[in-house]
Amino acid sequence: MTAAILTNNLTKQYGTLTALGNLDLQVRQGSIFGLLGPNGAGKTTLIRILTTLMRQSSGEAFIEGNDTRSRGRDIRCLIGVVPQENSLDRYLTARENLELHARLHKMDAARYRQRIDELMELMGLAGRQHDFPDTFSGGMQRRLVVARALVHQPRVLFLDEPTTGLDPQSRRSVWEYIRSIAGSMTIFLTTHYLEEAELLCDRIAIMDHGRLIAQGTTQELKARLSGDTLYEIEFDGETERYAALLKNMACIRSITVKGAVVNVGLEHWECLSEVVSALNGAPVRRISLRERTLEEVFISLTGAGVRQ
């Protein structure tokens, strides 16, 4: 099966600044792929190259097998783009915005009218379709941009930070819409919200300073964090003594103490039985597995927190 998106050694340079460096990426058809990274990581540059808005300095990029350098028009027939800025035409009504987009895609009036009716319903904008976007809330404007990108039924949908600047409620509603259309097309989403990537994406790539640092499913990324498994052990007393005991065990890679709670990182989950044996008779109130967060993965890979 052809990959929906494929890049080989993709590089973009602005003078001496490397915005993208030898990026290799493969996105499966029909999946939701999340590109995670702080501002300035190169996410938007990558999207601009993939959507043919910008030319790479070197390397290759393909959308559904079409080379971005030579098949730009073919690619633009296949893609829908939700840019960071709303880019809605404030002098056209919501419906007229969609109609213009359909005409630019050379759709027949009969076809696009029906499609726009469906999308207006889907996005909950049917009652406001003859209003101007300026009168919409941020969330509604965002939904309208998503609807515009879907008019011509694209095979690949690019969402560049689709929820940036939205309040939590609007953000959740955009997430719901994205999930509702998942499966019918490939979705390539960039974000700097870790929760968004974790919630929506089948696979995630993390990039920083123009380079891909890691990619995989959320679980794979968490698992490869340092190969260890984290447990929280809460004691009813003598916490320091038992922490010292655990610290000397070979299969424990890391240990931190916070009050009555000891966090231990095990080499692998099989070590847990050794730990339980070692703590035989100790006043243990609770042992629980602690899930790694994507932010921890990010910090461990980049050495810094997510820059907003």
Binding site: L53, R55, S87, L88, R90, L92, R103
Partner: protein, 252 residues
């Protein structure tokens, strides 16, 4: 080049013009009409005949032409700047199968149409409230100047709207280049008023070919093929330049 996309963008611009046509026309008519009343009527008794015609008739064709080219330039420059820098709609066009050339052609035609529509409005108002008249058969010759003239200014507007990122720069260019080009070309006075040595330079201006040629065509029915070729050539050159510059800017 397929023009289906260009037509879609042009239709969008015309829809927006139609929506705001009343307020647009009031603003468009006010400026040339004020000039006509102030100069044409106010100065008439002091100036008398210019090149054998009353002063109010001498300046009327120029005011109609000025409206057309000003509107063509303003629409192109501001529309392109606004859609590129404020509303980001140019970017939303560029992720559709429409080519960059189609976008620029659409914007040039929109400016051109604005120019013609607004010139027609001003002409109708001038006819309605002033004694300015011309022989209907002169109209064709006049349009031979007005159409390439509007196209030239529309292309110039597209170039400025493409290369200028700050709105204040657009205003400065208008004040330093566009208005002097219009006013120096004999809009309010005959070219013979210039010193002998300066006249060849003034005649070389594309706006002189436009304003002088248009006036002679409308008022006297004389047709200067040289002037038409000059303005049509300039329109063609600026069209090629506008497309090239826009493509270059978009590939940045």
């Amino acid at each position: 080049m397929k023009l289906q996309g260009a037509l879609a963008i042009w239709r969008r611009d015309m829809l927006v013009l139609r929506r705001s046509v009343l307020s647009e026309m009031v603003a468009v008519v006010a400026y040339p009409l004020t000039i006509y009343l102030a100069f044409g009527i106010g100065m008439k008794s002091y100036i008398g005949l210019v090149e054998g015609v009353p002063y109010s008739l001498f300046i009327a064709p120029g005011l109609i032409t000025m409206t057309a080219v000003n509107a063509a330039y303003s629409e192109s420059v501001w529309s392109l700047w606004f859609h590129r820098r404020v509303q980001f709609t140019i970017e939303s066009y560029r992720v559709t199968p429409v080519s960059v050339s189609e976008i620029v052609v659409a914007k040039i035609f929109s400016g051109f149409t604005h120019g013609l529509v607004k010139a027609l409005t001003v002409a109708l108002v001038i006819f309605a409230i002033t004694p300015f008249r011309f022989a209907p058969e002169h109209l064709l010759g006049y349009l031979a100047f007005l159409i390439p003239g509007s196209a030239f200014f529309s292309c110039a507007g597209v170039i400025c709207g493409t290369i200028m990122d700050k709105p204040e720069t657009i205003g400065k260019v208008e004040a330093v280049f566009i208005m002097p080009l219009i006013f120096m070309s004999g809009l309010f006075f005959p070219l013979s008023s210039y010193p002998e040595k300066v006249i060849p330079w003034i005649r070389a201006l594309p706006t002189t070919a436009l304003f002088e040629g248009a006036r002679q065509a409308l008022v006297k029915g004389s047709f200067s093929a040289m002037f038409v070729l000059q303005i049509a050539g300039m329109a063609l050159i600026t069209f090629v330049a506008a497309v090239w510059i826009f493509r270059l800017k978009m590939s940045d």
